[in-house]
């Protein structure tokens, strides 16, 4: 017995507002993108005939195809860096830090920026990266470089540096959650059976945290794939990835072309999520 009966009508009524809200604000809009991407003709009207012309036009352009590959390569790099860093930090916080107070302090220092504006955090990198930026000043002062390095601002390196600071938490969070669920007895059992620490990690700890790793990777993947704001802030107009193409087409009132790029982005993301689901069953997460 609880305040809500199983399968009672009340449950449906409670779920209804959120269902309608998510349908109206997420599902239908995404459906619209797919629909508009097939519109023929020139006028913006729902009566447009449906064709594949917009896709043909996109795939006929080599530059755009290159952009798709470049976006995927950039995203893969980010996933690798954020994944390794995130796992290391999660492992340290959960397993190696013994004092509960220090763990809380470090964890808060790690998490709090998530509640502040990502846009501001991206902008905060600008004074670091410029030719007269903080990094260059440090390099010059320590004699590591003789003249300012120009590769930071308006470059892929700068974008990557900012994105690592923005998205490592997303790779790390799910791992922290999974690591914290592993009972200490399990590790002790493996140790008692004389497994060396590396084997304990490889055969016991890592497989148990795998769902967390995969979910973290999915989050980084989805966020980096769609992050046009950081690219715009730090890359200026010199660097563009697939999501920036959506914005450019949209601002040029080329809604069909923007919709095509958005659909491609969506397909990449769906493929990524599907691949991740083959590795772990997310539904079983709650049970562990």
């Amino acid at each position: 017995m609880s305040t809500i009966r199983a399968r009672s009508p009340a449950a449906y009524w409670l779920a209804l507002p959120a269902t309608l809200w998510m349908m109206a604000a997420v599902v239908v809009p995404v459906g619209m993108i797919v629909w508009v991407s097939f519109w023929g003709g020139r006028a913006f009207s729902p009566d447009s005939p449906l064709t594949f012309d917009n896709y043909n036009r996109f795939f006929a352009n080599r530059t755009y195809l290159g952009l798709v590959l470049e976006t995927l390569r950039h995203t893969a790099t980010m996933m690798a860096i954020c994944g390794v860093l995130g796992y290391a930090i999660a492992y340290f916080l959960v397993v190696k830090v013994r004092s509960a107070r220090w763990r809380t302090v470090l964890f808060l220092a790690f998490v709090i920026p998530f509640w502040t504006s990502a846009l501001i955090r991206a902008i905060a990198w600008v004074p670091f990266l410029g030719v007269n930026g903080v990094i260059n000043q440090m390099l010059l002062a320590t004699g590591l470089a003789e003249k300012p390095v120009e590769v930071f601002l308006y470059s892929r390196t700068g974008i990557s540096m900012a994105q690592v600071s923005l998205y490592t938490l997303m790779a790390s969070g799910p791992v922290v959650y999974m690591l914290a669920q592993i009972p200490p007895a399990l590790r002790e059992a493996a140790m008692t059976l004389k497994a060396p620490p590396v084997t304990v990690f490889r055969r016991v700890i890592f497989p148990l945290t795998l769902p967390g790793v995969v979910i973290g990777q999915v989050l980084v993947f989805l966020n980096v794939m769609a992050d046009f704001a950081t690219v715009q802030t730090i890359g200026g107009n010199k660097i563009a990835l697939l999501p920036n193409l959506v914005i450019n087409f949209y601002e040029g009132a080329q809604h069909r072309a923007a919709a095509v790029v958005a659909v491609l982005l969506m397909l990449c993301m769906l493929a990524g999520v599907a691949a991740a689901l083959r590795v772990v069953d997310i539904r079983r997460l709650g049970a562990t």
């Binding site: 305040t3 449950a11 959120a18 190696k96 220092a109 504006s117 905060a124 809604h255 958005a262």
Partner: protein
């Protein structure tokens, strides 16, 4: 131990490794710890630099040296010209975030309570809400803009942007509430119901106070995610823009320490919101 003497009798004597287990474990801890601290510095340094540079003198540029210490750029922010007056966008963002927080809070509690009812299709409902996290702002915003155009709806910060912001923050509040309800002991409700309370009273007097940390958490998510949202706002806000949009517009025109001042101010606001919520949680725990 008996086991070790036994095995020693069988195997050839092993060479002693360079470091024993405990030393190696300590070494890993140091390496991972250094990495963690370095990452935390990496994550926080830009935010600190931004705040520091916002206090530079009137002739101060966008990087070091600061050319004096003053509140010049904050004053500039306060008596702003019409071109870049941040006060109206700030007001809008604040009101929008408050409305979003309250809505998200109510919807999350209702949805999580509905999940406890295990109605038919509750798994589908769970995925529908999670879609709000998975679907990137770029796609949701762009799709919603298309939808508005097709339906002939005028976009505005207090109608369309509000609708989309709630759909973004709702999954976070919902997951928080689910996590809290997972640890909730239904026997407490049962006791209240057996003692003659009706379901609504039992929920209001027993359930709600116990899950209050989740309620506060969902308020915090609702506020901060809406307050900082850029991608979704970009497509759904219309002529009267919110703060992140105003910041981006100013960045496109010119990067000035004024932008650092607004960045430092918003980050500080976010920190205050977090501290406020933490104190509320702490107070709750003390009161119990």
């Amino acid at each position: 131990m008996d086991g070790s003497t036994y095995s020693r009798g069988l195997e050839a004597p092993k060479r002693k490794p360079l470091l024993d287990h405990r030393q190696r474990s300590r070494l890993t801890a140091w390496v991972l710890g250094t990495l963690t601290v370095l990452f935390l510095l990496y994550q926080w340094l830009p935010i600190f630099t931004l705040s520091l540079l916002s206090f530079s003198g009137p002739t101060g540029g966008t990087t070091f040296p600061m050319n004096g210490v003053s509140l010049h750029w904050y004053r500039e922010l306060w008596d702003a010209s019409i071109m870049n007056d941040f006060k109206p966008p700030l007001g809008r963002s604040f009101v929008l975030a408050l409305a979003c927080a309250v809505t998200v809070c109510i919807l999350s509690v209702a949805s999580a309570q509905a999940m406890r009812g295990r109605f038919r299709g509750h798994n589908l409902f769970f995925y529908l809400i999670l879609l709000g996290i998975m679907a990137p702002g770029l796609l949701v915003g762009f799709g919603f803009a298309l939808l508005c155009r097709i339906l002939g709806i005028e976009t505005a910060w207090n109608t369309t942007a509000y609708l989309v912001h709630v759909s973004w923050a709702l999954p976070f509040g919902f997951l928080t509430m689910l996590a809290i309800f997972n640890r909730f002991d239904p026997k407490l409700e049962e006791a209240a119901l057996t003692l003659g309370a009706n379901r609504w009273t039992a929920f209001r007097r027993i359930t709600l106070p116990i899950v209050m940390p989740g309620v506060i958490g969902s308020l915090l998510f609702g506020f901060s995610l809406s307050y900082d949202e850029f991608a979704r706002s970009m497509f759904t806000t219309g002529a009267d823009i919110t703060l992140p949009l105003a910041v981006m517009a100013q960045l496109d025109r010119q990067l000035t320490p004024e932008l650092y001042a607004i960045g430092a101010a918003t980050t500080f606001t976010s920190l205050l919101a977090i501290i406020g919520c933490s104190f509320a949680l702490w107070g709750l725990r003390r009161a119990r």
